[in-house]
Symmetry: C2
Amino acid sequence: MTTIIAVEVVDVRFPTSLTQDGSDAMNKDGDYSAAYVILHTTDPALSGYGFTFTIGRGNDICAMAAEQRAMPLIGRDVDDVVSDLGGIYRELSSDSQLRWLGPEKGVEHLAMAAVMNAAWDLAARRAGKPLWQLLADMPTDDLVDVMDLRYLTDVLTRDEAAQMLEELRPTRAERLETLRRDGYPCYTTSAGWLGYSDEKLRRLLQEAVDQGYTDVKLKVGANIDDDVRRLAIAREVIGEDANLMIDANQVWDVGQAIDWLQKLAPFRPRWIEEPTSPDDVLGHATIRAAMAPMGVATGEHGMNRVLFKQLFQANAIDYCQLDAARLASINEILPVYLMAKKFGVPVCPHAGGVGLCELVQHLSIFDYLAVSGTLENRVTEFVDHLHEHFVDPCIVRNGAYVLPSRPGYSAEIYRASLDEYSYPDGSYWSGSRVEGTASVVG
Amino acid sequence: MTTIIAVEVVDVRFPTSLTQDGSDAMNKDGDYSAAYVILHTTDPALSGYGFTFTIGRGNDICAMAAEQRAMPLIGRDVDDVVSDLGGIYRELSSDSQLRWLGPEKGVEHLAMAAVMNAAWDLAARRAGKPLWQLLADMPTDDLVDVMDLRYLTDVLTRDEAAQMLEELRPTRAERLETLRRDGYPCYTTSAGWLGYSDEKLRRLLQEAVDQGYTDVKLKVGANIDDDVRRLAIAREVIGEDANLMIDANQVWDVGQAIDWLQKLAPFRPRWIEEPTSPDDVLGHATIRAAMAPMGVATGEHGMNRVLFKQLFQANAIDYCQLDAARLASINEILPVYLMAKKFGVPVCPHAGGVGLCELVQHLSIFDYLAVSGTLENRVTEFVDHLHEHFVDPCIVRNGAYVLPSRPGYSAEIYRASLDEYSYPDGSYWSGSRVEGTASVVG
C-alpha cells in the first residue's frame, strides 16, 4: 500500500516586479508567486504537486491555509484518494468552520485549489497519464461523480451533465488527431504589459506576429490617451485581420467602462477583459449590452462556480476565462465547462502567472475532446515567463499548445527553483545560498 | 501628539460547540471566535478595539491577515488617522498584492473588517462618543468621503448619497427621542438553534414571549419533518400574531429551496433567511418570486458591497442582513445602507456570534436617525450569549436595544477573557492558568 505521509507547502515568490512583467492598471508591481503543495507518499518516486497563484504579499497566508486544508490527507491510502476525488473534495470542503471564512472564496478557496490540484496531479501520476488523458479515460459516471454540482442544479443536473459528455464520445478520436497535429490555439499577452515602453511594445508585437500568433492582448485602463496610442501601434503592427484583445483588470465602474470603451471601439477589440469588479454579474451584462459587438470577457477572478452560473444566466459575458488555481480544481472546473457549453459561451482560460499555462493546456484539451467539441472562438492565453522553473513546461509552437505527454498536471516545480525563490529564506530573497523554507508536516 | 505604537492581534475562541449554541443545518459545531485587533497608542488610556467573527478553525489565518493589514498604521498620528478614515481605508485596501487574494472577499476582507472596526472604535473613543453619535455628528460631506463607492456609481453617486443624508437631518431630533425612550426593536434567535430538543425549544420560546419579544427565529433545513414539528410548536407558543422567521443557513439548491419552503409556508414565516448560496443573487430572486408573500432575507455572508448592489438591483431580497464584521466596517457598510434605502429594502443586520450585537446596535441606530428614518419592517437580531466578555455589552429591554452611551464601538473584550480563551494557549484551551497568546507587533 502506498500512503500519503506528509504535506509540504512552500511559499515561492518570483521577483517579477523588477521588470514590470505582468504590470497592468490594477496590479502595478506583482511578484508572481505560488503557494505550492507537495503530497509526499511512501513511494519516493510518487508525489502530487499543485499550487495556487498569487502576486506576492499574502502568499504566506494562502500557504498556511493550504497546509491546514490538506491535513486530513495525511495517512490516507493513495489509491483510496485517487479513486474517489469527488469524495475527497467533498470531505475537505465540508469543514464548516473553515467554510465560514468564505464560503468558497478568497484565501480559503485558493488554498482548496492548491490542495486539490495536487491531488489531481497525484492521480494522473499514479495512472501514468497526463491529466487531460486521465479525464478523457474516465467513464462518464465517474466524471459526473467528481463534479461539485451544489448550488448549480437549477441550471445543470447530473443527468444533463452525463448526457452532454456522452454525446461527444463517438467523435473524440478525430479531435484528438487534430490536437496531435495542430495543438490547441493560444494567444499571447507577453507583448502588452502596461509598464512597457512603446518601442518595447512594438518590438514584442512584431515578434509575436513573426512567431505565428493571430491573437494578441494589450493592457488598458490607466490613461485613455496612452490606450489610444498603444492600440494604434498594435493595429499597425498586427494588421486589420488579426485579433486584438484588451484587458482593464477591473479598474472601471460600470458607467466609466462604457465611456472609456467607446473611445477604444474604433480599434475593434475582440473582447474587453475584466472591465469592472469581477463580482458584478449585472454590471458585466450592462457593459456587454452597451458595447456589442465588442465581446466581454471575465473569469480570472471568478471566485467560484456560483458566480459563473450567474454570468451565464445573465448573458453577461461572451468569453469565460476561468482560472485553474482560483476555482477549486477539476471538481469545480468541470461543471463550469458544462454550464458554458449549455449557454453557448466559449471558455478561454486565464493563464500566465506562475504555472497557469502548464495547468490550463490540460483543461482546454479536455474541453475540445469531451465537452465543447469545437475550437471556434476558442483561444487559450499564453504568457512566456517562468516556464523554466517547471519540470514539464508547456510547449507552444505556431501559436498553439503542444499536447502534454508526461504523467501528471504539469505542476511540478524544480527543487532548485524552490530553494532559490522560497520566501523569505530562499537564496534569492535572503541574498545567500541557503536551503528553502519548506514547511513539512506529517 | 498621540501615536499608534503597536498592533496586537488575539485569536480568541469560545467553546460554544459544547452546548450547541449556534447550531444550524450548515454549521453543526461552531466555536464562536474573534480575530481581535487592538491598536495601542502612546496614551495608555486610549486604544482602538475591533474584530471579525469566525466559528473556529481558520481564526488564526484571519488573525495573521489582520496583523499584516494593520501594519501600515504603526507610527501614525492618531488624529491624522481618525480625521481621515476614508483615506486610511483606501490606503489599506489598495495593496494590490493583497487585493489579488480576494478581491474584497474571504479571509482578507474579514481581516480588513477587523482592522477598520478597530480604527472606527479608536475614532469614537478619541471623540468621546459612542460610534452611532460620532457618525450622527459628522457633516454630510465627511460621511460621503469615508464611503467606498467604487463599483457602486451605477446605482449610487456621491451626490445622491449626500442628498439622502441631508433630507433626514431636519427630523433627526424626534427620532433620537423615540430611541432614547423605546430603544431599537430586536428579535431573538436564542430559542431556535437546531441542536435544541423540542422541550428546550418550547421553554425558550415561552421565555422569549414573556420577555416581550414579538419576533423569533428558528433554524430549519436539516429534516423536513423536524421543521414542520418545530414550526408547529413555535406557532403554538408565540401565537398567530407574532412574527416567526426561519433560517436555512444556505443548505438548499434553488429548486430544493422552493420545494421545501412550500411545506413550511402554512406556518407563515415572515422571512426565509439564507435559503441558498449567499453568492447566488439570481437564485435568491427566483426563490423570492416563487415564495411571495414569504420574504427572502440574506446578507450575513454577503461578501462585499458589490454583492449587495446586485441583490438590490435584481429584486432578490426583502430584508438586507448585512454583517458588521464581514463588510469592511463603516466605510463599506454606509453605502449598503444608502443603496438599501434607494431600493426600499429594510436593513435588519445579522448579529449574534461574538460581539456582533454590540456592533450592530450602533448601525441600526444610525440608520434610523440618518438614513431610513423609519422602524417599519425593521428588527435587528439579538442573541443572548457571550456578552459577559464585553466591557460595554449591549443591553436589551422589552425586545429592544437600549442606546449605548459609552465612547467607542462597544467592541472591547475584557483582558481576563482574552487570557482565558485565546487559542491555543489561553487557560481554557491549554487547561492551565497561563497568559494569553497575544501577538504584539510594534
